[in-house]
């Protein structure tokens, strides 16, 4: 197994990886090769024998060499693994789409197994006709496809009081970005007929936690989706199969999985998930509620503590992700000197509203230590704040909605650490 684990995911692995790279450095680059490379000189088994047939793997998993690119959890965070969270390996992914199989999971009573046949969706409350839909009914409504990020409000939450976790997977991995296909919530609400007094909708899941949330009717009628496909295929069980709610740009807890009921009402419900949890306590002890929209944010995914630089000085791709719940990312700036000088990064493609944007900063590293940061700017002109700016307004107890600028200290060895700077 240890062969398959990428060098660099553990500290011990890192040291052996740098040692190996040090050796390779001599042979590589402008200096030229002293001896011919056996990988080129010798006939390899994969070049002479045969590979797998087309019936070997009806549904594929990543090749074994990538088996370290997986969701991970932090056991001390929660009492058990059923009501818990794991993290997307964003440090090892590129592009913008998150494969479902490694996209973070947060469950409040475990991922349930619910078949399409057993699925029912009810709309009740202040509507002309309370309705029940089967899964097959949903597939007959006009369909849409959109890509959105889903970020847990607690993403980066462990970092409020100080730098804690070493790795972009752990500091920023409660996020994923998928292309959803489904029906708009508006379409279903129109089918039931919302009464004029209807100002809020209540949404709940089929699982034991039910995870009830209140959503203002304006948002419900604007862009929410009742999704049944993600990245082209059925939702995975852990993402709410067969049907989940998509609430673009708003905190992940509202994206109710295994959605079973939508109720229209004239006031919010103030459920546990919108009072006890997902409210932001300020330094003076009062708390913000209804902090639904996710502020603009970015992070350098690599290099970072799990992805040290192992090749020594020279060209290095600094890359990361940026997103905003208020619209599209317009610009991302990167600094390598802790914010003395900033450079505009290259966006892989123009930012899409409420979806992840990939950025690259092509850098030639001189081998001295770097303090890496990225800073996102969205189409409203909002600039991702520093930790100090956020703490000034909110203190350090708000748990949720930490969108501060993240710092990685890349040492001369290429190793990186999560730090805070002045």
């Amino acid at each position: 197994m240890s062969d398959d684990i990428a060098k660099g995911t553990t500290r011990r692995g890192f040291l052996s990886a740098t040692a190996a790279a040090g050796g390779a450095l001599v042979a590589a680059g402008a200096a030229g090769a002293a001896t011919p490379d056996p990988l080129i000189m010798e006939k390899q088994p994969w070049a002479t024998g045969l590979g797998d047939g087309v019936d070997a793997v009806p549904y594929g998993m990543p090749i074994k060499f990538e088996s370290h690119v997986v969701r991970r959890n932090v056991s001390w965070l929660t009492a058990d693994v059923i009501s818990s969270i794991n993290f997307t390996p964003i440090h090892a992914l590129d592009g913008t789409i998150t494969p479902q199989g490694c996209a973070f999971e947060r469950h409040h009573s475990g991922a349930i197994e619910l078949s399409k046949d057993d699925y029912r969706l009810m709309i009740n409350g202040l509507v002309e006709t309370p309705l029940v839909f089967t899964y097959a009914d949903l597939e007959r409504f006009p369909r849409v496809t959109h890509t959105y990020f889903c970020e847990c409000a607690a993403n980066t939450g462990m970092e409020w009081a100080g730098s804690q976790l070493n790795g972009s997977q752990f500091t920023h991995g409660m996020i994923h970005n998928m292309e959803y296909t489904g029906v708009t919530l508006r379409t279903l609400l129109q089918e039931a007929g919302v009464k004029p007094e209807g100002k809020w909708v209540f949404v709940e899941g089929s699982d034991a936690s039910s995870n009830g949330r209140s959503i203002p009717i304006e948002k419900a009628l604007n862009d929410c989706l009742i999704a049944f496909k993600a990245n082209g295929e059925a939702l995975r069980k852990e993402h709410g199969y067969p049907v989940r709610l998509v609430v673009p740009g708003w905190e992940g807890n509202m994206w109710v999985k295994w959605l079973r009921r939508i109720e229209v009402g004239d006031a919010p419900w103030e459920q546990r998930e919108e009072t006890s949890k997902y409210t932001d306590t300020m330094a003076d002890g009062t708390s913000r509620k209804w902090t639904w929209v996710m502020d603009a944010k970015s992070v350098i995914t690599a290099p970072s503590p799990q992805v040290p630089i192992t090749h020594g000085p020279g060209p290095v791709v600094i890359t990361g992700l940026a997103w905003s719940g208020r619209g599209a990312i317009k610009r991302v700036d990167v600094t390598v000197d802790g914010g003395k000088t900033w450079h505009e990064a290259r966006l892989a493609s123009p930012g899409q509203p409420m979806a992840l944007t990939r950025f690259y900063f092509d850098h030639v590293w001189d081998g001295t230590e770097m303090l890496l940061q990225s800073r996102a700017i969205d189409e409203t002109g909002y600039v991702q704040p520093t930790k100090a700016q956020l703490r000034e307004v909110r203190g350090v107890n708000s748990v949720y909605h930490n969108n501060c600028i993240q710092t990685w200290w890349v040492k001369a060895s290429g190793e990186a650490e999560n730090v805070e700077i002045s």
């Binding site: 553990t10 991970r72 009573s109 804690q164 103030e270 009062t286 502020d295 003395k340 909002y382």
Partner: protein
């Protein structure tokens, strides 16, 4: 940058129109929900009390039910066991570092506690409480928070008007006025600061899981093949099933008692025989009466923990599937005493 903002409002509306396909009229899909179906699913309770059913419960009854169904995780006094949520205490700590947020110290509405407990607790056996039990439990949680006396009775009539200490502690998101103007400023690009110091390092705390698998049940990773004829596939399946138990029970070398007793050597072990674990009276009595955890007894207990041994304190709904019970027992059998 402020001209950006005006532009955005324009594009937001334009793009939102595209989000929904234009629908002239209803499609006639789905069917009307029957009133009894709505009643079966619509249990939500609002702060104004809308949705609360008839019923009532007192502190002392609540204490009994809580002790039996909630205390394994939340503690006899709702103070929380290990990492499980604390439901009592913390009043006056909200402006401290690490405030303790509980039903008593933080929650704005008591209706929320009624709603949540009724729909989602006990963890692993949700929707099993009667309305009267929920009223009683909520009364007991108030008592545990020193908010009512021992003779308090909670009813449908007095619940919604009961004022919790932090009822006035919340305000609606004001980021648009407080934060956006501060943060929406064209940022500095060059010569932004003279010096930069590292002020805090994650290595100081070093809490990151570096192991390939950060599995709470790590000691169970390599079961010793104690049973010769054991079916490896069944054992592997059992290891998976055991994840449902692992939050409370540990097995393997170095395993200790947790919320539940350690389970090494459980197959063939006398009931309630682990030293240092505080069993319920029901479980201790069964052990004193000679009950032994044979495979059959385990299968029956795990199928229906409360039915098999009434009043035992394992808050676990049971394993419904025969294969799951067989598998987990086969897995447990690989751990000697």
């Amino acid at each position: 940058m402020s001209k950006f903002r005006d532009l955005v409002i324009g594009t937001a509306i334009a793009s939102s129109l595209l989000v929904t396909p234009a629908l002239a009229e209803k499609l006639g899909l789905g069917r009307p929900a029957l009133p009894e179906e709505v009643a079966a699913w619509d249990h939500d309770v609002r702060p104004d009390g809308l949705g609360l059913p008839e019923g009532s419960g007192d502190v002392l009854t609540g204490e009994e039910v809580f002790s039996e169904k909630c205390a394994v995780c939340h503690g006899e006094f709702a103070e929380g066991v290990d990492n499980w949520p604390k439901l009592a205490g913390g009043i006056g700590t909200l402006d401290h570092d690490d405030p303790l947020k509980t039903v008593g110290s933080y929650w704005p509405h008591l209706t929320t506690a009624w709603d949540y407990i009724h729909r989602s607790m006990p963890f692993g056996n949700a929707q099993s409480l009667t309305p009267d039990e929920v009223y009683a439990i909520v009364a007991y949680i108030l008592y545990s928070n020193d908010l009512v006396d021992e003779d308090f009775v909670l009813t449908r009539e007095n619940l919604a008007t009961f004022e919790l200490p932090n009822a006035g502690g919340f305000f609606v998101d004001d980021r648009d006025t407080v934060e956006l103007p501060k943060f929406s400023v064209e940022p500095c690009m060059t010569n932004c600061k003279e010096t930069v110091e590292i002020t805090m390092r994650a290595a100081v705390l070093d809490v990151t899981p570096f192991d390939a698998t950060d599995d709470a049940a790590a000691p169970a990773a390599e079961p010793a093949p104690a049973v010769a004829a054991a079916d490896p596939e069944l054992i592997a399946a059992g290891k998976k099933v055991f994840k449902k138990c692992a939050s409370c029970h540990k097995v393997g070398e170095g395993a200790k008692n947790g919320t539940g007793p350690l389970l090494n050597g459980i197959v063939g072990r006398a009931t309630a025989s682990v030293k240092g674990f505080k069993y319920s009276k029901a479980m201790a009595d069964a052990g004193a009466g000679g009950l032994v955890w044979t495979e059959e007894a385990l299968a029956a207990y795990l199928a229906d923990p409360k039915g098999y041994l009434p009043k035992n304190k394992m808050s676990f709904a049971g394993l419904k599937k025969d294969e799951e019970r067989k598998a987990v027992i086969a897995y447990l059998a690989t751990f000697g005493g």
